[in-house]
């Protein structure tokens, strides 16, 4: 049997006296596209942070490709897209990407930077400071930044929030392409339709636990909303 891309065993995380995750067991195979759904504060971001190795679990075991997520080799396979764009306003688009290319040891960086800039339609602004970009443009650049080193595991934390239509379209088509390339992708979102469109599998996270783990094909967005997010279930 193939080694799973990701395996969590009994993972819990507390922030001091705040509980964020409780006893998460989760296995994800290489090439899966999984949507993680849940209310605000359910622990989605924390889960992604633990997978990326930024956060250490308070207890339990996390294995990425059979090793520690914090291993250098694993980190170079990983990319994160969230509302934090990880870019320097005082550098141009190209300079930002050059910086990341050198950190991640990207080969043939110049060509690669051109490619990713083209794919997010930012070639014409490549010599402008990121500080002068609109929100949508910055988000597009951060997509380019994330794909620069051709990661095999993509963690997307509500990537559609705050995007304009153009950026949403670009991101969705790029994600499709990544899926075809066989990348493993984890996505948290509130947009159930997009989740249904893109992913095969979905998890419902509620009250810091996995409430449900199922296949998208067996359900539809309205059913999910009805079952897990209707107002009479809200306990916030």
């Amino acid at each position: 049997m193939l080694l799973p891309a990701l395996e969590l065993t009994k993972v819990s995380k507390d922030f001091g006296r705040i509980i964020a995750l409780r006893n998460i067991d989760l296995t994800i195979q290489s090439g899966e596209f999984v949507s993680i759904l849940g209310r605000n504060g359910a622990g989605k971001t924390t889960l992604l942070n633990i997978i990326s190795g930024v956060s250490k679990p308070s207890s339990g075991l996390v294995e990425l490709y059979g090793g520690d997520p914090a291993d250098t080799e694993n980190k170079s396979k990983l990319a994160v897209i969230s509302h934090e764009v990880f870019l320097y306003n005082n550098l141009t688009a190209t300079e930002n990407l050059e910086y990341y290319a050198s950190i991640y040891g990207v080969k043939d960086a110049e060509q690669r930077i051109k490619d990713v800039l083209q794919s997010v339609e930012l070639m014409h602004r490549r010599f402008d400071l990121v500080g002068t970009f609109s929100r949508g443009m910055t988000q597009r650049l951060t997509i380019a930044r994330a794909l620069l080193h051709e990661p095999s595991l993509l963690l997307l934390d509500e990537p559609f929030t705050g995007l304009d239509q153009l950026a949403i379209g670009i991101l969705i088509s790029l994600l499709r392409k990544q899926k075809e390339l066989g990348r493993t992708i984890l996505l948290t979102t509130h947009d159930l339709h997009t989740a249904k469109e893109l992913s095969q599998r979905y998890l419902i996270l509620e009250k810091h636990r996995i409430l449900h783990d199922g296949l998208m094909a067996d359900t539809n967005p309205d059913e999910i909303r009805q079952k897990y997010f209707s107002s009479d279930r809200s306990g916030e």
């Binding site: 250098t72 990880f86 870019l87 050198s102 950190i103």
Partner: protein, 222 residues
């Protein structure tokens, strides 16, 4: 090392993009000397005695300026988290930031020093070259602790105040010694104590650097 150099290059690029801040820092240190001159109306002899301290006050202010800046830009768009995600050791990140902070502080110091010489009418002698290792050692001590504590303080609301609270007491031994060594050079009395004291500063630089290098990983992690 490659990652550290990338960070250094990026930092210097950003720093020199806004030359305004370098200019304003230089004028600021000029002001320090002027204000001290107003507030302590003392004879030239006394002035010479407190001059080494004044010089280091100006240095420290310029250093604080750079340190406050160093991680503010990293916090801006979540870049601190980005650093935790990078496939490099925390120590490498520390090294990169340390180099950029140190180089910028040394640049400020080289701008401040000529003013100091002119205002206090110091005689340039061959011995003055001994100030180079003294200033280097003092500065590295200041920045090696300052870099890690700046990364700590940036997580708080009042990062500038907190950085001072954390850094000044911890770095006070290095500063006390540096002021002393500077005084010896300017006063022209290099006594037997000079070299052992300088060695001691360097030794503690090494300790501070090594400890910070090892601990930086934990600062990036959540």
């Amino acid at each position: 090392m490659r990652a550290a150099l990338s960070i250094l290059k990026k930092d210097l690029r950003m720093e020199f993009r806004s030359k305004d801040s370098i200019l304003s820092m230089w004028i600021f240190s000029l002001l320090i000397f002027v204000i001290f001159n107003f507030t302590f109306e003392v004879s030239r002899l006394v002035m010479l005695e407190i001059a080494p301290g004044l010089l280091w006050v100006a240095f420290i202010f310029s250093g604080m300026f750079g340190l406050n800046h160093a991680f503010a830009v990293e916090k801006e768009n979540g870049n601190l988290r980005s650093m935790a995600l990078m496939p490099v050791d925390g120590g490498q990140v520390y090294l990169g930031k340390f180099m950029s902070v140190t180089l910028i502080m040394l640049l400020f110091e080289s701008l401040i020093f000529p003013i100091f010489i002119i205002f206090y009418d110091l005689q340039l002698s061959f011995q003055m070259f001994l100030l180079i290792p003294v200033i280097l050692a003092g500065t590295i001590g200041f920045t090696s602790l300052g870099t890690i504590l700046s990364a700590v303080a940036v997580h708080t609301r009042d990062q500038q105040i907190l950085l001072s609270l954390l850094l000044w007491p911890l770095v006070s031994p290095i500063i006390i010694w540096s002021v002393n060594l500077t005084g010896m050079v300017i006063g022209g009395d290099i006594t037997q104590g000079f070299y052992p004291l300088l060695t001691r500063v360097i030794a503690f630089d090494v300790i501070f650097f090594a400890v910070s290098f090892m601990l930086f990983e934990f600062i990036l992690e959540d």
